[in-house]
């Protein structure tokens, strides 16, 4: 999902960079406040861990292999703000050292993968694990959150590509969301398995496990939520409605529609001609809704299969261990 340079135009790059800067600023402040100085090297090491973990390939059906992305996993292990800092670091190093993901697109990549992926994944993980108690609930929650986070990030990415005029929304959305609905299954499964492995061996290393109660995250999550919804409003909402958006209508009514500035980057596909492509957008949305139900059921099954009943209550000193 690393967007290279040239796929994001000036205005989108500027908007995503501003959103990401605010998000990372919030995360850094939060981390400084809540993390003891002892844990500061952990951020760097967790980033290096994420980088190394992304190089471990998992076998997928048909001889292909996939790898971990890990935003939701790191957020579940270290908390959302630490995860934003960690994933941002990974993205910066990948961009400048390995030329993975563009420099102009860095803001967009940070927004999608560090903010939408980690924080969105964390919010889903928290709300599901609150409903379902015990280790089983956490495994279910993380597997589901991993899938949702991947799909959400891909939708945000499709929105940015479309608002840059690089790929039309009617093609970008089905392609990105469709493939990531499959990739996300692997992501959720790996995240849950890795989490379970850590939970079994060193449960005290998972944030929130050793403390008497889970730390309050509401204010923090609200701030990220505002940022993400702003991003959605800018990049995704204009395309998600079938009718022309408000701005266009206003422009048409006021009669300056023809005066709108020529886009810096010409749309690659101004008018998409292939029949049935608009149908694909709706079909993808329906498939996503149905898919999330199926994935949730699978995640429930996974938690039930992986965690034996007697181990369910043990959350590492949280309750009765």
């Amino acid at each position: 999902m690393h967007i290279p340079d040239g796929f994001i135009d000036g205005k989108t790059a500027l908007a995503t960079a501003a959103l990401s800067a605010v998000g990372v600023g919030v995360a850094l402040r939060q981390v400084k406040r809540e993390l003891p100085p002892r844990k500061i090297p952990l951020l760097g090491l967790a980033a290096a861990f994420l980088f190394a973990a992304q190089m471990v390939n998992f076998p997928v059906a048909g001889g292909t292999s996939g790898h971990l992305v890990g935003g939701a996993l790191v957020a579940a292990l270290l908390g959302p703000s630490a995860a934003v800092v960690v994933v941002t670091t990974v993205l910066i190093v990948q961009c400048f050292l390995f030329a993975d993901g563009g420099v102009m697109a860095l803001g967009a990549n940070i927004f999608n993968m560090a903010i939408v992926n980690s924080v969105g994944g964390y919010a889903i993980y928290r709300s599901v694990s609150r409903v379902l108690p015990g280790v089983r609930g956490r495994i279910t929650a993380l597997a589901f959150a991993g899938w949702c986070a991947t799909v959400l990030a891909s939708i945000s990415c499709a929105g940015q590509l479309a608002s840059s005029g690089t790929v039309p929304w009617s093609a970008a959305f089905p392609a990105m969301a469709g493939t990531h609905m499959l990739i996300g299954v692997g992501e959720g499964l790996i995240s849950a398995l890795v989490f379970l492995a850590i939970q079994r061996t060193r449960p005290e290393m998972i944030a929130g496990n050793g403390e008497p109660g889970q730390p309050r995250r509401r204010g923090e999550l609200v701030r990220y939520g505002l940022l993400v919804s702003l991003g959605v409003a800018i990049f995704v909402a204009p395309f998600a409605c079938p009718w022309p958006d408000g701005l266009e209508r206003v422009a048409a009514r006021l009669g300056f529609e023809h005066k709108t500035a020529q886009p810096l980057l010409h749309a690659l596909a101004p008018d998409y001609q292939v029949p049935g492509i608009h149908w694909a957008v709706g079909a993808t949305a329906i498939a996503g809704a149905a898919g999330s139900l199926v994935v949730f059921a699978l995640a429930l099954l996974l938690g039930w299969l992986l965690v034996p009943k007697r181990a369910n209550g043990i959350t590492g000193g949280l309750k009765d261990a």
Binding site: P4, K32, I40
Partner: protein, 188 residues
Amino acid sequence: MQRLPAALKLGVALAMIVGTVLAPPAWTGWFTGVAAVLALAILLSRIPLLFLGKRLLLLSPFVLGAALVNALQPSGRAQWMVLAARSALCLLTVVLVSNTTPFCDILRVLRRVQVPALLITTIALMHRYIFVLAEEAERMRRARNSRTFHRGRRLRWQTLATVVGQLFVRSSERAERIYDAMCARGWK
């Protein structure tokens, strides 16, 4: 090329990338200019061409995806070429800069442009330990390969997940030791 100040290289690279992304496709002069500067830089830096070529071939699934989308429509090819040229030029710029500039110099520039200190510390630590942890992961993989013989897919996923989990545990422990070492050396 390697001896130029990092700030200058980063500044020029950034200007080139921004210009390449923003320039309309009709400005062929700009694109050829950037290409000429890059060619000169490649000559001066003496980076093997094969290495750059390999890196360019791995451009990105995005370029392929865009090619696929554009194959479906009549006038797509020219625009795809513009897109691919843009990405390739920007990618070459970044590869050149990152291969001729020590990473700590890049960090120094970032510090000078007021990137928050916590972020810079994290980046520096990550850069230092990427290779250590990658080696550790490789050692763990080799150890597992020499000990496990089963073929089941389920077990393979589970052992791999255990390896990754163990890698997290080891890196957290290493972080604790690093903190002690940093304090011992007078880190505030």
